[in-house]
């Protein structure tokens, strides 16, 4: 649930991200919502790289299935690394050492 919670904090802050899919397509937009499968919804999608953009010409918002995502490019200043590391350690403790 760590990254689900992390994405929800990004949603609250209206962060702009670029989602790179496994088929090399890249979509930039504002993170609107995420769910436990890390499916993502982006608002106001735009194109950076025309070769890697799937011709979503008349589409403003889109839903991206979590299973097709390769990377979510984030602005570095939006990531509180220390806090993430703490959450990670806490989750690891809950799950236990012998998983």
């Amino acid at each position: 649930m760590l990254f689900f919670s992390f994405f929800r904090t990004l949603v609250d802050r209206n962060v702009q991200v670029t989602v790179e899919l496994k088929n090399d397509l890249c979509i930039t937009g504002t993170l609107q919502s995420a769910d436990q499968f890390l499916n993502l919804k982006l608002a106001n999608v735009s194109v950076n790289d025309p070769d890697r953009y799937p011709h979503l010409l008349s589409v403003k918002n889109c839903f991206i299935r979590g299973s097709v995502v390769r990377y979510v490019h984030l602005p570095a200043h939006e990531v509180d690394t220390e806090s993430l590391q703490d959450s990670c350690r806490r989750e690891a403790k809950q799950v236990g050492p012998n998983r």
Binding site: A34, D35, P54, L57, S58, V59
Partner: protein, 129 residues
Amino acid sequence: MEQPVFEGRPGKLPHWASNLEEHVDKKLLIILRDGRKLIGWLRTFDQFTNLLVEHIVERHIIFEEKVFADIYLGTMLIRGENVCLFGEVDPERQDGLTEAPLADVLAKEAQNEASDGKKGMDLFAEAES
């Protein structure tokens, strides 16, 4: 349409569910893993992103020539694992494409695929893990 029923939290979607409800009865452009672009009206969904879509057309686009052609497919249940992404088609946003004869568009597409060396099949086949 009737609201889907979820036990325990009346009126709220479960925490694991993305709200696809807001896309029901809307016209969607759906991109599949094999690169196909389907346009149709979303009627139902589930947590696997299985989608029941009506009045589907498969749209073939030649971006360089700004033309497209549609193949009417009717009503289909799309298995969720094949869905890449989808978005609501905004009627006010012009995409600048004009319709062209299907045979011409398919011929041009076949030409492009042959010269690009791109396969028209599952682009995720090796990436699955």
